[in-house]
Symmetry: D2
Subunit: 375 residues, 4 copies
């Protein structure tokens, strides 16, 4: 810590996620005992004007309309990337080349090839990285992971997961970066979340057989436009999967899930117990173990509390639930820890690349109509 008294942050992007990052950077130091003080050094956005205005609101000292000024700035230690997916690679590569720790939003990039290039650069440079799969920061998922690692569920036999939302559920939602043929689609956008979660809790997915469906083959060129453009990407993906360790299951990614706003949910079955969870009730984990006695068994509803690290940093008492933005605060605290120790966070670029490889295999399987191994 002596060499890292301060972590100077350069944030690229001031949209929904940029705002969320900024909030987390502003908040983390007051809640966590971090090994370095966070300094909001510079904000880069599409133009000088929006960068300056947002920097003022978010609390950054400087701003720029040219992101390369930020990634090459010697007075910045950590580069946080919340720009459109297609820019992740050039931004990350430039930041890595300047010796920065890189914190990148998910998905890592728009193709497996691109993700591989990014990971190679990291390995070559020895950079510290973290990818923003923020749902994994939930203290209850850490609890689930500990239970699995400790064998409390026995051997894991099945995983059933989905990430379903409704933000593209009607034909009125227009084209955007989300429907861009390069890196777009529900499987990339949401599937990456449920796949990263499956890998975190159960392990690598060995093979997959998927079907992809485009509900709306054309969408307005822009919001409210009467001009229609063809859509090439999936609105939903359904897959049967087999893990390397022999567990089997299903996953679904769906952004046309009418009625659902955040059903990132799963059930994990083991020979001795099971767990189910949905982000819709993100402060509850439902756990069944064979330890119950006759007439006294059932699912135990565990609520987040001080026993689940790092909930205690937010509140010393149970019952005061965490919200979505709090997960990003935890992520930033882990980022600072990774930056100071030089140990990659989880998931780092390499792990995010494995997620991307799984998505690629799913797409291939949908085309060949056969099971496809994940390389």
């Amino acid at each position: 810590m002596a060499n890292h008294p301060t972590a100077r942050i350069g944030l690229i992007g001031a949209g929904f996620m940029g705002r969320c990052h900024a909030n987390a950077f502003r908040t983390a130091g007051g809640l966590f005992d971090l090994p370095a003080a966070i300094e909001l050094a510079c904000l880069a956005d599409a133009t000088e004007e929006t960068a300056a205005a947002n920097a003022r609101q978010f609390g950054f000292s400087r701003s720029t309309g040219v992101w390369r000024d930020l990634t090459s700035d010697p007075d910045i230690d950590i580069v946080a990337i919340t720009a459109p997916n297609v820019l992740h690679e050039p931004m990350a590569l430039d930041a890595i080349s300047h010796g920065k720790t890189v914190y990148c939003e998910k998905p890592l990039s728009t193709s497996l090839e691109s993700a591989n290039r990014m990971t190679s650069a990291v390995e070559t440079a020895g950079a510290t990285t973290l990818v923003g799969f923020n749902f994994l920061r939930n203290p209850l998922l850490k609890c689930a992971r500990q239970m699995i690692d400790a064998g409390e569920l026995g051997e894991i036999t099945a995983f059933r997961g989905r990430h379903a939302e409704n933000y593209m559920a009607t034909g009125e939602e227009a084209h955007s970066f989300r429907t861009d043929p390069e890196g777009g689609g529900a499987l990339d956008d949401l599937g990456s979340h449920i796949i990263s979660l499956a890998r975190y809790l159960v392990g690598p997915i060995g093979e997959v057989s998927a079907t992809l469906k485009t509900v709306y083959p054309e969408r307005p060129a822009s919001n409210g436009s009467s001009e229609m453009r063809a859509v090439d990407v999936d609105d939903m993906a359904h897959a049967a999967i087999r893990f390397a360790n022999g567990a089997s299951g299903t996953i679904e990614a769906n952004w046309a899930a009418t009625g659902r706003t955040m059903d990132l949910s799963f059930e994990i079955t083991g020979t001795k117990g099971s767990i189910h969870f949905s982000q819709e009730h993100m402060n509850e984990l439902h756990v069944w173990t064979s330890a119950g006695s006759a007439g006294r068994s059932g699912y135990l509803k565990i609520e987040t509390g001080p026993d689940h690290e790092p909930y205690g940093s937010f509140c010393p008492a149970p019952g005061h639930h965490l919200g979505f933005n709090d997960l990003k605060v935890i992520e930033v605290a882990e980022l600072i820890e990774a930056h100071v120790t030089g140990k990659n966070g989880f998931p780092d670029f390499a792990e995010a690349t494995r997620v991307q490889a799984t998505i690629d295999a799913a797409k291939t399987s949908a085309e060949t109509r056969r099971w496809q191994a994940v390389d």
Copy 2:
């Protein structure tokens, strides 16, 4: 009704399901205005002794240890079959040959070929049939079907279903008819339920890609035995599916679902609405439609009540929930209606054969590791 003053029942089998049938036959007449009076004529069981004892308790007038005496009895109108699956075909064929209405427990038989033979016999004889997929009798599923038929959900795009229980969840559960290579396995036993439900609500499944998993490759030869026998059937099956109408989804059949006792559950997504349901809360249907206004939308929890036929036959007021056995009573009421009108019930043998064909396709896909069309 003049020509059918009485429906004389011959029931084969006095196990769990036989008992459940007997209860329903004894109960239905007092709750429903049936077009024929039910007479508990004869009970057949494995031996004369058990048949006689159970007939006495269940309220049957006669009993027999020889089922062919029952299927050929001229004083019986309806033959109800709850014997082991492997006996469904010979019993049904004999009953059909004697002009009976046949009410058979699910699954219809132990192979698609057998099911086809049974359906051919029905068509030749013009027999009236009904198969005991009792979960379909839930008034709320009828409500769901009506909503879908009326277009309240728009075009159906996705189905996510499972039937998960835990009755074979440990390695201590012994071999039985369930694990018999002919017609055994979780996919046959439980998958048939979720497939029949998917067909009822969404329509025929066109193709499937499944993976089957045997969690316990050997089980005790009998309860408590130390002798182990190899198991050839699946303990769980996971599949991606595509319906003939273009909807896609996943299904799971799992009898090793630790912690779950009756998760026969589904979510149906349409372009205008969605429904989710679990048999764990069988008196609740959760419905989302785009009719909600800003800030006032969400899932509507519909509880079974007098507006959902035929709940009113059980109770004139809402809030008095139905139980599992009540579903069988509804099924028997539908059976009597089918018997009197001569119109097949739903699902009849032909429909149950389509369920069997879907299971067959799933098994084939697991072997070929490709998508398999359902014939």
Copy 3:
């Protein structure tokens, strides 16, 4: 059992509850190993015609339009009373005078004085009685009682209960026996349920302070009538209570609970654990005990199953939920047991009279605006 080979039932009333009783009498013998066979001997209803028609449908051998013919019939062993509350006393007294076992619907009568007379008659005659507080038959409430008796919750400190339904929730619901000044009102009709439950699980209520509210001071004289009649009874009652054992709490009885169909619910707090339950999910009991370990504590959701007697009489496997009518079947099984052994069932007339005394005290407290001890 030698002396009671058959229990010959005489049922008075063929409305909602009469039908429910008939169903239970018809069903119980096939599910339970009863110490006496049930014979549906005679049904009495308001007229000879309705009695005859309902007897035919319900399966009774004889019928009558004169209830005294039934209560005095030497070929009847058990008289079941589902007639309007105001008739409970004369019917029960006559049945007792003829040596019958008496099974009476709740509430026992229309006033504490009347209930006291009935109980005195029972004591004098040594009659066997049971009162139809059917919700108490839930196997999970038996489980709750066992946990409390075994000290699993420690010392009981608080009870929070209500019975809320909506069947009188608008001003359009007309006058009926429910709003009769003698024995009418939400506190009598629904409060009796939650008070009997409180007494069953926690013990006698020692004192009470209640407020009663009439939401609709006048209602149509009959359904659809434009003639309005004044209403004197409560639509809802709210009370603070203290149990004899020192626990305190609140109870609510409410038949104008817009949106609620069956919220008979409670939470019991003890020094070591707590339980909450609602009849809306009658197959689930939520239990918290201090036995949980750090990070692994929470409410356990116990589902009804074979370990909860007498669920196994309905189904040998868990997950097959009970419904409302099943509770009445359990009640009838307990009735037959009480009849044969000569041991009063629970709650008997004496217990139901204590419930009535508690209601009386609540009404007195609302008038005097002071805490009122229950005599």
Copy 4:
């Protein structure tokens, strides 16, 4: 706003609530478009040392161990008080005398007399005040209030509320400011929350009849101590209530509610609809209205989203739930608005005094054992 470019904050207290305030002050500006920029000017704590250390972590520029230096500091605009309840009055009075806007944690003070003095001072000085009943900031409660104001529930007839937690549920929890005879007890600590909520949604409580219970008549003098001290305050309070507008109901305050961590919950019944809510699922409001059609009615589960102000300041998309700390951020945003406009926030000191008066009436009723009007 021209005159208030900056709101300079002086925070007193650095415990759980001080930390929570500091976090909110640090966060609000980046999420909300506030009419004044927030400046973390000074932190006062018990000693110079803890004040300095916490100021550093929380991001305050200055610190002091003498709170009067802060309340009299001309370079401070808003004084936020999170010190022990007994200090609220002197701190607030001093701050008011120096022309500050005062933001005080609940409960306002330790007695009605004290609260009255504080409110008088506010009125004399024309000070702007806000009291930290943070649960009221939930966007869904605003939604509930709007529905009630718009008549969507009809006339309100009943309220059933409680605030139940378990932080004093065993006898091991030691004496502290919570059990101080002056201003201590569950009714003061938690009852103030549910009473403020009842007043916010339904209106003033006109009269009350309560019972108070001390579960543990003695507690350790301090954590882990073997010396025991007598306890004079209530561990739980149960009350029947009547609102000024005629609605009736029950309330409970309970800090010995074994198993409960945050059951701040209520049900509001109206002649046309009802609402139920629990802080345990703070992002869900359950609403029933008579607008449902036959077979399509039930409780609607409304999730917090952008349509519920000011959720959109945290996230532009639905499904990203708020947490406990976010409620404090909303409160701070409302504080800044109140400070700039000079319009008191809700609840201000006057409103908090009405809450205190209701608590006082409840205590009096428990002593006199009669209904007690709230002055």
